[in-house]
Structures are given as C-alpha cells and as structure tokens.
C-alpha cells in the first residue's frame, strides 16, 4: 500500500471517529434537553393551571375532565378581585413588612455568619450548634411565649413583631451564609489585613461582594417568607387597615361561597412580584456559578 493511501485511510478513520463522537455528544445533549424539558414542564404546569383557573367562569373551575383553557377568558375576574377588597392598601402594608424584613435578614445574618465562619474564637462551633438547635422549635410552640413577650413590649397590633426579629438573625440564613463564607479563601482576608484593612473593612469590602449570590438567595427567601406569611400578621395585627395580602385573600372567601376564580386571580397577582424579583436577581445566581471556578 502506498503512503498516501495509508494517510487517506487514517484520515478517514479519524473523521469517522470524530463523527461517532459528535453523534454521541448530540444524543447526550438531546437527552439532557429532554430531561430538562420534562422538569420545566413539571414546574410550569401548576403556574399554567393557576393562570387558567383565574380566567375561568365558576362553572368551569371544577369540570371533569379538566378544562385546560377557558372557552372565553374572564378578564373581569381581575377587576372583581381589585374591587372585592382594598388590594392597594394591603399591597402597601405587605411591602412595609417585606422591605425591612429583606434588609434586616441580609444585614444581621451576614454579620452573624461572618462571625461563625471568618473569625476564630473559643467555643465557636458549640455556639453555632446551639443556634442551629433553635430551628427545631416550630412556630406553634413559640407562638404564645412570643406573643406574651411582644405584648409586654406594647408591640402587639404593630408591624414591629413582624419586622424587628429579622434584624436579629435567623438560624437557617446564618447556616446558609456560613457555609458559603467558609468556601472563600482565607488568603484574601490575610492579604487585605497586610494592606491595612481592619476586620469590618474586610467584611464589607472583600467578603460581602464575593457573597452576593448567597445574599441574593437570603433576600429572596426572606421576601417569599414575609410575602406569603399568614399566621404572623393574623396573630399580631388586630386592625383591618393593617392587614396584608395573604390575610386579604382569606377575606375574599365567603363561608358558603369561596369565590375560587377571584382567589385564583389574586394568586396570579401575588405571584407576579415574586417572578419579577427572581428574574431581577437571576444574574447573581449565574455569578455564583462563575464564582465556583475561582475556588479551583
């Protein structure tokens, strides 16, 4: 066999191996996309169902088999929802709770988690375990003692019991932030110290900018918790003008006539800000992914 023909054969073998490899990669990629698509559909169906129900007539709500999309969408459900209860007042009240809660959660938990992860002190791990143990207590157990405490402080029927505690740490957020902060190389702090930075400067100039992704997560969780909280405002507020959206939802429901379609319209309206927040914050999550490369 001549040399050019051997080379041709080798080229052919290489090309077919390459084709096989790209075919294999193609299948792998398609499988990944199909899997992702299945999961995406699973998560999207409940939201789609919520939107669909919010546009149905009462008679279409419980049809069997399920009606995927109303025959004629009832946009008036949204108008009815706005006129059924003081939506804007309750939205304002909810925001009065959400904003301080988000700020309080970020500031206080970041400080505490910094202490548990970046500073060395005696019994640090033991104290951290005690902090975690407080997560075991459900709200039902602490509800009455907390109510008594806030009553003594004359905070009942104010927003203070629903906002101030968020400025004093939350064990779950502390845990979340601590685990993240432990992953940031200590050398960064040492270098900053050599450059003359004090501990507080290291905290806000070096560590916090790197912790943006996890701080975003904390902010979203704090937002969601307060936005959806029903029992907290119910227990502490006794003035209808101070009620939040989640309490307002309950007021729409009549004892004999739950008005599901209007409730669903409220459900869509209440979900929108959460979606908007997520899309705004999404890029920080992506930052979090790129950050993981830095660790290597």
């Amino acid at each position: 066999m001549s040399i050019p023909s051997i080379e041709r054969k080798r080229d052919y073998q290489l090309a077919s191996a390459h084709q096989r490899q790209s075919f294999k990669n193609g299948i792998q990629l398609t499988a990944q996309y199909i899997l992702l698509l299945i999961f995406a559909v699973c998560f999207l169906i409940p939201f789609f169902w919520l939107v669909s129900e919010s546009l149905k007539k009462p008679s279409e709500l419980f049809e069997v088999p399920m009606l995927w999309w109303p025959k004629s969408p009832q946009w008036s459900n949204f108008t009815l929802m706005f006129s059924s209860f003081p939506f804007l007042l309750y939205l304002k009240n909810t925001m009065m709770l959400v904003i301080p809660t988000m700020i309080g959660s970020i500031v206080s938990n970041a400080l505490v988690a910094y202490g548990f992860s970046r500073l060395e002190w005696k019994y640090r791990e033991q104290v951290f375990v005690i902090v975690l143990i407080t997560m075991i207590l459900p709200f039902q157990v602490t509800m009455i003692p907390l109510f008594l405490l806030f009553k003594e402080l004359h905070w009942v029927n104010t927003y203070l019991p629903l906002t101030v505690p968020h400025f004093f740490g939350n064990p779950f957020f502390i845990f979340l932030l601590r685990q993240f902060l432990l992953g940031i190389p200590k050398e960064l702090s040492f270098s900053a110290r050599i450059d003359g930075a004090n501990e507080f400067q290291i905290f806000y100039r070096i560590v916090m900018p790197l912790a943006k992704p996890v701080l975003t997560t904390v902010a979203i969780f704090a937002f969601l918790h307060t936005w959806n909280d029903f029992i907290g405002p119910l227990i502490y507020l006794s003035d209808n003008h101070m009620y939040t959206l989640s309490l307002g939802a309950q007021q729409i429901m009549g004892t004999l006539d739950p008005k599901w379609n209007i409730l669903m319209a409220l459900g869509v309206t209440m979900t929108l800000p959460v979606l908007v927040l997520f899309f705004i914050m999404q890029k920080y999550f992506i930052q979090g992914i790129t950050m993981s490369g830095m660790k290597g």
């Binding site: 709500l61 069997v64 700020i103 029927n157 006539d257 008005k259 599901w260």
Partner: protein, 444 residues
Amino acid sequence: MKKAWSSMIACTLTATLIAGCSTAGNGSSQNQQTAQGDGKSSQSGGRVLNYWSPFSGDSQKWDQERIAAFEKKTGIKVNVTFVPNGGLNNGKLLAAITGNSAPDLVEADSPALAYSYAAQGSLESWDTHIDQLGLGQNLMPGFKDLMQYNGKTFLIPQDSNVLMLYYNTDMFKEAGLDPNKPPTTIEELDQYAEKLTKMNGNKIDRMGFIPWTDSGGDAFTWLWMFGSKIYDSSTGKLALTDDKSVAVYNWMNKYAQKYNPAQLKSFTSGFGGMFSPDHPFMTGKVAMTVTGNWFTNALRIYAPNVKYGVAKIPVPPGGRENGTLLNSNVFMIPKGSKNVDLAVEFVKFGLAPEINGPNFDQWRSIPVTDSKFDEVSWTKQGDPIYKLERELANSPNAGHPALTKISPQLSDELKALQDNVIYNNKDPKELLQALQDKLQKALQ
C-alpha cells in the same frame, strides 16, 4: 463602596422607622386612636367596644351596617376586626386570651368550635346578663345545650339555620312521583332516589340522591338524624359504636356499592359549590339534596327556573323525626374582656328582629326565640318554607350534636372515616370502635 454601605444603613434605618411609625399611629393603642381620632368617639365618651367578627363577603357588609347602626344609636364606638373564623381555629384568639389582650366580644360561625372554648374554660359567663338580653324563657329548646356548659351560659346564639330536604318537583312528576308527598323515611328516600336516578348504560346521567353531598357530607348530619347519641355529656363518653351510628355508614355504603364508588367520585367531582350555577341541584344532576335554608337564596340567584319543594329530612325507624341540626352564629366573651357591659349592649342590639331582619330576609335564617318569628317578613307573608323552618326549630329533635371540647377533631375524623367506608368499602363498626378508643383518651 463606602457610599453603598452608608446607603444600606440609611435604608435599614428608614425601613425600621417606617415600620415603627406606622405602628405609632395605628398600633400602640387602638382604643386611643379611636378615642382621639374622630367626633364619634368623643360623642361616645371614650366608650369603645373591641369586637372580632368572623364574616367575609356579603355577610361582612351586613355586619358593617349593623355596627354603623349600633354606633349611631348608642354612641359607642366599635373597633371591629374581621378575623377568619373569629380567630378560633388559628391560634389568634388563644394567643390573645393568654396574653390578656382579648377583644371584648367575639362572634363565631362554628358553634362546635366555640363550644370547645367554653369547655376549656376560656370564656366569661353570660349568666348575670341573660335577663338583660331577653332570651330567658322564650328560647327554643334546641339552643340550650349549645349555650351552656356545666350549668353556666357561655354562648349566645345570634341566629340559626335549619337543614331540610330539597327536591325537584318537575323531576318528581317525570318519575311518576307526587311532589306533594316527599319521602318521610329512609326506605322511601331510597325508593324515590332509585326512581329518580337516570343511567346511560353504565354512566350516571342523574342521581336521585347522594347521601354525602351538601350538608349530608357534614360529619354529624346523618348520625343525628338516625338517632345516634354521638356523645353523652352526662358520662363524658363518646357513643359512636351503637347500631344507629353503624347503620348510617352501612346505608351510605349501599349507595356507593350500588353505583360504583369510583364512578360516583368522578360524577360528584364535577359539582359546583352551593353558590355557583353549577351546583348539581341547579344543573339537574341531582334530584334531591339535604342542605340549609340559605340554599333558597342561592336558588333564587342562580337557578330561578328550578321548581323545587322542601321537606323534613327523612329518618329511619328510631331516628329523630321532625329533627334538624341547628347551625348557629354565636357570641362569646373571651376571658380578659374589659368591657363586658358594652358587649352585652351590642349583643342585645344584634338580637333585635329589625337588626337581624335583612339577614333573615336574605338567607331565610331564623331567630332563636319562637316569639320573634312573628316579626320576620317571611312569617308575615305566610311563606310555607319559613313555616316549616319554624316547626323544625321548635322540635325537641332539633339541636347541636357532639358538643365536646374535641368537636372539631371528632368532625374531621368522622369525615375521614366516612370516605374510608364509601371509597374503600371498609367495615364501619371496626373503624368507629377504633376512633372511639382513640378520641376517648383525648377527652379525659
């Protein structure tokens, strides 16, 4: 960065201030706010009643009108808070009573739940005010058990509802039944139901009757009508395993097995609510149903063309003939109330027929004293449904069953048991025995 950090601190402080300021105005003392806030309170001489109302929707509007009329008449300011279920089942009232910051008056739309508070010693007694309320001797017998615990009065019923059998008269005629002779016994009810049921091959087109829809699905309805004791207050023991209780679930299961539980489940899952035009009685999917007087209003609004009659609920031999369950809205004074006298004044005002009048007119609900029936417009018009309601309410077999401190739990457990019998074809006797053993411990 320094700037960003300072902005963050500024934001935090501002947010806290906003939250704090909003409380200073609204919160530190609601009474203070109202006392200083408007002309009405100065007219009331600072007398303020803190009242929790359970109403929502249309009933909430009616309650607001009642409050406005009370304020106008008495000059007493009412601070009303609309709380789901009056705060009874969500911890709000419990926390308020424990914290000695309970409202002066609470109204509840679930008498069994309210009774559990009375049984747990969380309420003040009305005993010294009963005469003032004018309830004394006029009260119909079915309300006495609900009002009292251990001989003391803790709950005052504002108004009540009764349960009846609704039947479609056109369907009766079509099936060759006399609309003037509705069923009076369970045996007749079953026969009528069979005649009224329409099948299309194996598919159900119309059910003559389904025992567990509407108020028939409530935990205590059929137990009460079949004559079961459910709970013996003299011994403090549950009585769930007698033959009458077992008969209820066997009877229900007979329907389930006859028409196939899965098929019935699918058929009933498409039913609309009581106040929707898709309710099965309105759409003609069911020919008879057991529900309360409020349904007459729903039929008027959503199905004015449906011709119907109402009758006493049929019972088996040994059952509670001419009986009904009463479903009352009740007033209660929680422990720690600071203005009992104002609460009494408000309740007295609320019991007046002219105040309850619009409520009675709309829902055909009933007063709790027989003499007040005469003042209701339905009576004046000679309405036959209202006449029947009056007869049922005065019956010795009208009442509120299972008044115990665990009524809400008992109700939930019995509903689960009912589903277990109907859909899983389980033996009710064994299930009832197990439930009785379990809940009797909770009662002690």
